[in-house]
Subunit: 389 residues, 2 copies
């Protein structure tokens, strides 16, 4: 992990918000950073030149999906994820924990299982046995296998194997899962010495559900280990997102200042100012691309008086609307296409619709993250937050 390091460049005086730079083998990441999700080694609909144009600094690839398809042997033969994708920017892979546990609870998998035991995940001290969401085949993951897989993928940031509990999990269960995650974290650190490439940084994962004592304990313990960065897990799951502010308030003051902090799976617009104010340095979220595919395009609340920051571009009222999605947006889609044309493309189910909407939405969030960085640098974060929300 020679190359990886983090520098805090500015701290906000009224909150825990801060700017910084994460230095990696494949480039720098200015924080706070939005991290789009490229589940299957592609940020849906967007090609590499578009990601470059969007100034995407880093994106997330899901180890679970890579293991099942195309398979690690393909990625290894191709020389790692960067070469496979053909893009030379920082990447981050996850531990597989979240996918295993969330897909293990999905309805689709229940069909494969039997009615009495629909969950297709078996957890023991060694690791997890689960079934593929693609074909029902059985697979297993251990902390060592997760690290070895991420070593082959070769992303700049890897994440320690964790158990992601579901909301609402009891205190007892959350404690047991957290302690297992801690033990798995230690095993992962050992495995990382041989299995990760020199430039890869392994983030430890703080769990502990919605319980203050557990979150504090987890934050302190993970901080005490030799992880170069810290991920905060279990906040995006189910209803627990309501507790995000509390969880961050318990966790972040117990993390070391000098390590970067990534919040896993959270980043709707309403959340972004809160999580930055709480001291998060990076956050990943599928929202911009997922909403984009549904025809929901991001606009500024304050200007458009809409709920949840989006307009539904597929609605009849936009069929002959000459305006761009957002008149003040400077993205290529807003500069070149009308709402009417987008409305038509969505109604005609044209694939271009999903691309254009995703492009705009990723630009919107990425640009917002840039504006937030600027406001922190200039000591105006709280003002910007108020004016924007």
């Amino acid at each position: 992990m020679a190359k990886f390091h983090f520098e805090v460049t500015k701290k906000d005086s009224l909150s825990r918000a801060r700017t910084g730079v994460i230095f990696t083998e494949h480039g720098e990441i200015k924080t706070p950073a939005f991290v789009p999700v490229g589940t299957q080694a592609t940020v849906k609909s967007l090609d590499n030149s578009e990601l470059t144009k969007l100034k995407v600094q880093i994106f997330f690839v899901n180890t679970y999906h890579m293991v099942l398809r195309p398979g690690l042997e393909v990625i290894e033969k191709m020389g790692g994820l960067h070469r496979f994708i053909g893009l030379n920017i920082p990447l981050i892979t996850d531990s597989t924990g979240f996918q295993i546990f969330s897909l293990g609870n999905s309805k689709r998998l229940k069909i494969i299982g039997n009615e009495k035991e629909p969950k297709l995940v078996k957890i023991n001290e060694d690791g997890v046995i689960f079934r593929s969401h693609l074909d029902g085949s059985e697979h297993s993951f251990t902390p060592e296998k997760s690290i070895a897989a991420q070593g082959i993928l070769g992303a700049d940031i890897a994440i320690s194997f964790d158990e992601c509990t579901f909301y609402p999990a009891s205190h007892d269960y959350s404690k047991a899962a957290m302690e297992r995650t801690h033990r798995w974290g230690l095993r992962g650190l050992v495995a990382a010495q041989n299995k990760l490439k020199d430039y890869q940084a392994l983030y430890g994962v703080v769990q502990g559900g919605i319980y203050e004592d557990l979150r504090v304990q987890s934050a302190k313990y993970i901080s005490s280990l030799d992880f170069p960065g810290i991920a905060i897990g279990g906040v995006s799951v189910g209803e627990s997102k309501k507790e995000m502010k509390s969880v961050l308030k318990w966790v972040i003051p117990n993390l070391p200042d000098e390590k970067p902090r990534h919040l896993l799976g959270v980043g709707e617009i309403d959340d972004i100012f809160d999580l930055v104010a709480a001291g998060v340095d990076s956050f990943d979220c599928v929202m911009p691309t997922r909403l984009g595919r549904m025809g929901r395009t991001l606009v500024q609340n304050s200007k458009f008086k809409v709920q949840s920051w989006t307009i539904d571009i597929t609605k009849a009222e936009y069929a002959d609307d000459k305006r761009p999605i957002d008149e003040q947006c400077e993205c290529d889609v807003c500069k070149n296409y009308s709402r009417a044309y987008l409305n038509h493309l969505f109604r005609a189910k044209e694939p271009l619709a999903y691309k254009l909407a995703s492009f705009h939405n990723v630009y919107f969030i990425n640009n917002l993250a840039g504006e937030i960085r600027k406001s922190i640098e200039e000591g105006k974060f709280s003002e910007f937050r108020k004016s924007y929300l």
Copy 2:
């Protein structure tokens, strides 16, 4: 039609192949030109910046689809197709004839009709009554309505309303349909005076099925009218493509040298050299984008020893193939992506797959058309044809 004109710049000495330039309100088209198809006002998966990068000179939009969705009132309010799409290059619209007759024969529409009379197209002297393939609603088209619709769309080239007969149609039926097409052509020319914009050029349509006497008669008649360009129809339908070379041999010597000739709906690679040699100036074909969506990517036959000029990138043998689709291709996809990555995207059903394959395929044909133009200019068309095929 002030702006529209055509200049022949070079004639091949061994065939009827020729180069030229079509001058239009929205730019020049160097011929022989490949015309991609953007059925619903979008060349599937490709955005305007990509069409520009691909040096697409002109593309086809189907009037029939525009009438049904988004509807002419939307296009009119938006200020025509160019503004609706947001792209300032030459466009061509068709007469609706082909869609009405081909969709009228489709299985999907037969379900809407009754068993005794499954065809949902009624033809009389005035025009055609048909049902929408979207919702079964009844619509009618006449030569005047087709021209009026195309006037609202505002493409640089419009096409006269024609009856597109199906293979194999009898001599009697082909003759009756051709004569109707001729009468409709005259009515269209009259309508064009008021209904087309000044810059729009109306191409007359040569029909006549697979019968030499009818094709000769049709070519001579359409040439005698005041159309600034000639389209050759009915060659792409069913098995009649086998007769393409014969049809072109009957038709083209009977067309005036000074008018541009468009061959409707034909342009697979095997055909391109034949149709150029026969004297065609432009041709449209959905092949590159349709094949692209299926994962069939174009490669040079001579080099790859494949049938039908494609490899099926979804096959397992490409799963870890580091090479680009075609090593000599200079398109952005071949410069930046491996077969392995494309294989993965197709298997994972990622929308990016369709875009990348379509981009390459359109580049491939468009580039081939450029090489053909160059070979004609240099007096080497026959040599190039031999070396390529």
